[in-house]
Symmetry: C2
Subunit: 461 residues, 2 copies
């Protein structure tokens, strides 16, 4: 995945960059990336996308063509040549702290904390939001599906319905971060060393004159791994054909109809013919709710292929993720920042997330100022980049997946229910609360002073 | 957007390819890509993604690294070396017919019809589905939003919440195909010559000591284009400050709160200070329904910035899009294909879509066999690629957008209602119906013959 596209930003990041440059606004700024609210269908999120975010920051630059394109934009004709020279040499040189991929996060908790010259931190906004949002969205959905499957492997099959093929690659990785066992996306497998899985399509069977010959041919080429899709014409007849082939059959797939009834009948047919080791894979518009039902009813399904609902996070295709300025620092003066427009206030200042345990399980989180300390609690935000360089290449996805599963083991069951789960408690520290009040008061005073001076100057408001 | 990633496919396309190769299955196959059902919230789709699809087919190949990766996969250890040699020289050499981008399409109508050696047509499945699905999804949502805006420009602002940054680029193009006037995505603008739009973020204002100074600074750099975001602290106070600056103000943006009330008050403030030419841009979780309400209530908003709901097609984040084998041809023998598993039957054979008009408006469509003719009706599927080469580079997005808007003008109003619109009639020809019955009958006969010969052979089923 190429991650060095300087122009892959919202225009306003670059207009603001130009205006910061022209006005020599060079304070150091800290932005935090967080989700404002969890939707009713999500009681936790699985952090993901950090690898993409850091690769981007390390490689971010503008080619001569990029700069020429910008310079030719009508909006930029008032910008000085020095800005374009600056862009040509641009590299991100900031510091980043982040919550590790695979860690569970909740509303208001910063997944990423970027501290850099304001211009650099600003330019990165669009891309950082986009990758952290998307990958966290899919990893979080995957964790629910994997939980519903209760130990049976979940295979990610969704690239064809993802939001474009590149989203399919990202979703495949995120699905494995969230606990899936394998993906059908070959490029994702190659890029991230993920186990690959696949079966056959209806077209394979249709091309042959009869179903039996199509099954035999697939098994001749892939004797150890072929999964026969048995529902092109009639799933029970297909299963009978599969069960009476002259060779071992690794597995069959069902992709339509009443999965509970069909899987039972197919299992019976296979067993009756002594095919006890032949696995049944189910696919076709599956999600955590349908899988939960199938398992509750004892469907003899060995693994689930999940596509559309997983890779688009269909019930929650977007989160209220934002990237907000929380602090500026100039000549040693630190100023915490927030905004006060309706319902959009957020916690100012650089923060840390403290996670408290009880009997080896998560008990509650505390969102606090970065410099606070709470012995016994884990701190979730850790340094991952300094002066534009990653501190480590990051763990392989297989390791992140283990981290996710270990995390989920620590989250009390109640918070993991697929329906009507209570909200996990995220408290705010007294110091953070005081800081918000102080910033609010200071802003009101500042506004009053500004207004008074304006009126003294004779301009009617 | 790089579109030559050979490995960006589902594993099963490549395992089937290997098995086709090993068994010398080299019939010519026709696959059609269509949407099975329209969801309740969509009464039409705007075709999009063809440009991406054809670029992919023209560039599709496997690098040596790709081939080495595949060869090292455990599943492929039973595949002969000749297949990997074949992959090294692989190019798509098929023919494609398609419905033009910007044309309105309905359930069952093939957006794309691929005719090629079965192996080539099969390998392309995943990517073709992915781009046509995603871009059609977003273009269709965009058309609804643009309609709701009733002539006021809609600006696409969604990359940060798209499913990854590349999905943001694709969504930006698709949004303009669907009728949006501009995008904030700079790369999409550069790649597809789209108008760019942008404003400023809250962080811009927050970095400055006071709001007035932040506005002045932005206007100094961008006197002709700056849009001031006035709701960082208090939108009415922000508007008052904007209205009392010493210079012209191109526009202000509101991003939170009750947009109807706020836009009216802001308009009053601007007008009271003689700023009648200052435009109001609204943004913040907008979609076609909210925009329709705002306009019905007379909100004085000049343009709408729409992000999340547009680029994720939030109410319908996926369509039931499929790529199905409809015909094979070998040594002059043509065989129409379908499948018969529950609810998944589809229309066999190569098809054409005929669109009938009445008084300059669309009256109904007819899905028919490719060789049928209906004088007076338009045919929607046209040749776009022959022997792997595009017949034309395709029209620029600005032209496609005009085509979309002209198409929408021809769709009777009733079908465009945002709520409870009736279904546009898509009929099936008698010939097509007969073909389905014939294929079904032939399959039953074939199955009976196969069963009889099996029983004669003494194998119990």
């Amino acid at each position: 995945m190429k991650t060095d596209k300087g122009l892959l930003v919202d225009l306003y990041e670059l207009t603001m960059a130009a205006a910061y440059f022209e006005h020599r606004v060079d304070c150091r700024a800290t932005f935090e990336l967080f989700v404002r609210h969890l939707p009713a269908q999500r009681t936790y999120l699985v952090a993901a996308g950090l690898h993409s975010a850091l690769s981007y920051l390390e490689n971010l630059h503008f080619t001569d063509d990029d700069v020429d394109f910008l310079r030719a934009q009508p909006a930029f004709h008032t910008v000085s040549p020095e800005f374009f020279d600056y862009l040509r040499g641009f590299r991100f040189q900031g510091d980043v702290r982040a919550i590790a991929e695979g860690t569970l996060v909740f509303a208001d908790e910063p997944l990423l904390q970027v501290t850099a010259p304001v211009l650099e931190a600003q330019i990165a906004e669009t891309y950082l939001l986009s990758v952290i949002h998307h990958e966290t969205l899919v990893a979080s959905k995957a964790a629910r599906v994997v939980r519903a499957a209760a130990g049976r492997p979940v295979l990610e099959f969704g690239t064809r319905r993802a939001h474009g093929p590149e989203a399919g690659v990202r979703a495949a990785r995120a699905a494995c971060v969230g606990g899936c066992s394998a993906t059908s996306n070959v490029l994702a497998g190659a890029l991230y060393d993920l186990p690959l899985a696949g079966t056959a399509a209806h077209s394979w069977t249709q091309v042959f004159r009869d179903e039996r010959r199509s099954f035999e041919a697939l098994l001749e080429t892939f004797p150890d791994t072929a999964i026969l899709l048995v529902d092109t014409y009639d799933p029970l007849e297909g299963a009978r054909i599969a069960a009476t082939l002259g060779t071992e059959v690794p597995g069959v797939r069902l992709d339509s109809g009443d999965m509970l009834e069909k899987s039972r009948l197919v299992r019976e047919i296979l067993d009756r013919h002594g095919r006890r080791s032949t696995k049944i894979v189910a696919s076709g518009d599956l999600n955590e709710y349908r899988i939960e039902d199938l398992i509750a009813q004892g469907a003899p399904i060995d693994s689930f292929g999940v596509g559309t609902d997983l890779v688009t996070s269909r019930d929650v295709p977007a989160l209220s993720v934002v990237y907000k300025l929380v602090e500026t620092e100039h000549a040693g003066v630190v100023e915490p920042k927030t905004k006060f427009s309706e319902e959009k206030v957020y916690w100012p200042g650089r923060k840390q997330v403290f996670r408290f345990f009880q009997n080896g399980k998560y008990h509650h989180d505390l969102l606090a100022c970065a410099e606070e300390g709470y012995p016994g609690a884990s701190t979730l935000l850790e340094p991952v980049m300094r002066a534009g360089r990653r501190l480590s290449p990051g763990p392989p996805v297989k390791e992140i997946r283990e981290h996710t599963l270990a995390n989920l083991n620590c989250l009390p069951e109640a918070y993991q229910a697929l329906h009507d789960a209570p909200a996990y408690p995220v408290e705010k520290s007294t110091a953070l609360d005081s800081l918000l009040n102080a910033v609010r008061l200071q802003h009101r005073l500042g506004a009053a002073v500004a207004k008074a001076s304006l009126q003294a100057g004779g301009i009617e408001s």
